[in-house]
Subunit: 460 residues, 2 copies
């Protein structure tokens, strides 16, 4: 019997997981049941529930409601440890990872799940002008800019009787772009109207600029159409085939056309984590690692690539880079490691031929406060839009939210905000400058001092 | 009758309030009932509920739970407008305030309530090394440092088998210092022990360094003694008569003694807002404006100084710079403006001789998760300590919390955290560097690579 080998000193295999996103966390939870020692490494101390990040950016939820310390999530598993650090190099022959702090960690099995970020198509100087939405820090920065635009407009209106147009430009018409645009429109039309005396927040313009001919490219055409209709009904303009050629403070260019932008947000492009290329294995043009049906790069059955970093094809179609497949890949990789460990210990090869299969339950994207589009594939097939899709979206997302406490608070927060149109979390923290926003005191100080009464008296 | 004058074009008086803290907000709420037009100006878009700021710093509450947009708080009053801006100059003769953006605002009555901040006694270079606690940004920075210290210790322990002592030094033994110290000890001993595999968070040392001979100087001696006892019982060391003479990355100096500090926090000294001096009226050595019994600086019955910026004496004793007197001053100033407006309109001088009187209901400070000291003066007299004081503290603070929604969420958050010892809001955002924390990989890379098994295997 192989029992001695399993309990022997050298038999306990070391599993190293890079990344604490959906893929890494699901891999860790699944691997926790195996007779292995697991180290999960992430740059951040917290897991971020990405699908709700836009609600932090638009001041509905607080950061702590959608993020949770990775240590806390995993602390009940004695065979998992969590390390806040970053992989910076690999020695695949020695099965060793080098960390930023100089330490090297050996592994028997390696799961790389460091994800992807938005891509500025080589124009990294746009990042400061048009923040994207990948981290809690990003969300707070977007929140700051959107809220600040209204504050600065109010101030300038009061002081000079005019303000730059409140144009919010969202570059990219995928789910994130659609959700951001809908949420900004909601904020402007529903939540802020009572707060200002000089400007009318509901005159804000929100526009999505999508380079391809289709909004929500991954969805079926009829849902794409419904999404555009619902966005338009909300007041969001959608322009497809609109390639942004330049981003400047205060405006963006689409070809020769200049579009004014009080705030520009970036929801276009995907670029894989640089670790993909560092591995020295084949990657696609976005830097995603091309893996086989077992999620292994060629020649490395001990390495698994999971989540957005993986380029997996099934029946000739690429598995999309969203939360569901990431969770499933993480779970699959851990299960396969379990089978490999069993094989090594007992020579048992049960299930070793079973490839990864993406079980697609459907996709959804919200459009503002009570509309959404959903393509449901499980437990039944349906294409939904409008309010039923929104309710479905709500329950699915609350259900998957990491941590029971968070589920409760998020749900009560939503209910409260939804029912009362109340304040949410509209804090501006950090700098009070907005790129491209120039204060134009309507007149010089001498003349403005001549009519201060106009300035000081609110429209009571 | 003076009715014509009241409703006449020029009769509507302009009230300008600088600062949206307790004093400014209470002044605005009270003045909203008067036939006046009010403009409230603050640099931030939100009011911060200062007494609970340390709970954000120690990851129990989220920023949005103790802060609320000033606009939202006041939006039901049509005669109030809110402006996010900053006063930078005064023309008292013309009754005019100059704002940072260049605009000038005229006023008939001016309420200056821009508060105070901590003072580094002229050593402003210490600010980066030992953050204080006045704003949401400060609280997030303190949270970042405290949580990061545990993460870095865990990492270093795992990598080199040793870590710098987890010493948390709190400079200043007033209520804020006591609350910060107690809360850090709680976090270390109660909430984090399950999360780490290599370090023992409960070995953290927390020390209060107070320059004067007394902890909680404003409290009666027996409560001071009880506070020290309760802090000691929790494990917090208290050193009085310990003047900090230098703050450096990784340590502080008390005379010639060097005290190691993984994190140093600043809760000492008070320095008034610079607007006090800008007014050109007499100030005390901290920059607080010396006002008479009507809260007016000499010769300016139209100007009121409220809150921490005011130096008010009653029966030869200075009114303390805490929340209660600030609220009462704001309310008083607005009421007095109402009387002055009535006098001008109708010649009626009722109540014009009534001076400001501080109605002292008592003071309290919490010490960790279930102890506090409270000197209650209303509705009965009592000096309490321990659990009853803590329960009182809890209800008083929830009761005064601005905004009903916040009250509910803060209360449920507390109940949840208290009952489950659960995670709270332990997010590290921003930089991952800690001043004075030097990574000392135990050995060079070659030798550390020789024994990677020791490193990768958690203590399962």
């Amino acid at each position: 019997m192989g029992v001695a080998a399993v309990t022997g000193v050298n038999a306990r295999k070391r599993v190293l997981i890079l990344g604490g996103g959906f893929a890494g966390l699901f891999a860790a939870e699944e691997a926790a049941r195996l007779p292995v020692d697991i180290t999960l490494i992430d740059r951040k101390n917290h897991h971020t529930f990405q699908p709700l990040l836009y609600q932090v950016a638009l001041a509905v939820l607080s950061p702590a409601e959608i993020a949770q310390p990775i240590r806390s999530v995993l602390h009940d598993h004695p065979n998992i440890e969590v390390l806040m650090d970053e992989a910076v190099g690999f020695d695949l022959a020695q099965r060793r990872v080098e960390l930023k702090t100089g330490t090297r960690l050996d592994y028997d099995y390696l799961i790389v799940a460091t994800g992807a970020t938005h891509s500025y198509f080589g124009r990294d100087e746009w990042a400061k002008l048009a923040p994207g939405l990948k981290s809690i820090e990003d969300a707070i920065e977007i929140r700051r800019r959107v809220l600040l635009a209204f504050e600065l407009a109010e101030r300038q209106m009061q002081e000079s009787g005019t303000h730059p147009p409140l144009n919010f430009i969202v570059v990219g018409g995928g789910p994130t772009g659609v959700e951001l645009a809908g949420a900004i429109m909601d904020i402007a039309k529903l939540y802020m109207t009572k707060d200002f005396r000089h400007i009318d927040p509901s005159t804000a313009k929100v526009e999505i600029l999508e380079g391809s001919p289709y909004l929500l490219g991954a969805y079926p055409p009829d849902l794409q159409k419904k999404a555009v209709e619902q966005l338009n009904a909300l007041g969001v303009e959608v322009r497809t085939g609109a390639q942004v050629t330049d981003v400047q403070p205060g405006y963006v260019m689409v070809g020769n056309e200049r579009i004014d932008a009080a705030v520009t947000l970036w929801a276009a492009g995907v670029e894989a984590s640089p670790l993909g290329k560092l591995l020295g294995v084949p990657t696609d043009r976005r830097g995603c690692v091309i893996v086989d049906q077992f999620l292994n790069p060629p020649g490395h059955p001990e390495i698994f690539i999971c989540g957005d970093l993986a380029h997996v094809e099934e029946n000739g179609k690429q598995v999309p880079g969203v939360a569901q497949p990431a969770m499933q890949m993480g779970t699959y990789a851990a299960k396969r490691i379990g089978r490999l460990v069993t094989r090594d210990a007992r020579g048992d090869s049960v299930g070793l031929n079973q490839p990864f299969h993406y079980f697609d339950k459907g996709d959804m994207a919200t459009i503002g406060r009570k509309a959404a589009v959903a393509r449901i594939k499980w437990p039944f097939h349906a294409d939904w839009s409008g309010f039923p899709a929104w309710i479905t979206w709500l329950f699915v997302h609350v259900f998957f939210l990491i941590g029971f406490r968070n589920r409760l608070t998020v749900f009560s927060q939503w209910a409260w905000t939804y029912l009362t149109l109340s304040d949410g979390a509209r804090l501006i923290t950090g700098s009070q400058e907005l790129p491209g926003w120039e204060e134009k005191p309507g007149s010089d100080q001498g003349s403005s001092a001549q009519k201060p009464a106009d300035i000081a008296v609110p429209k009571a």
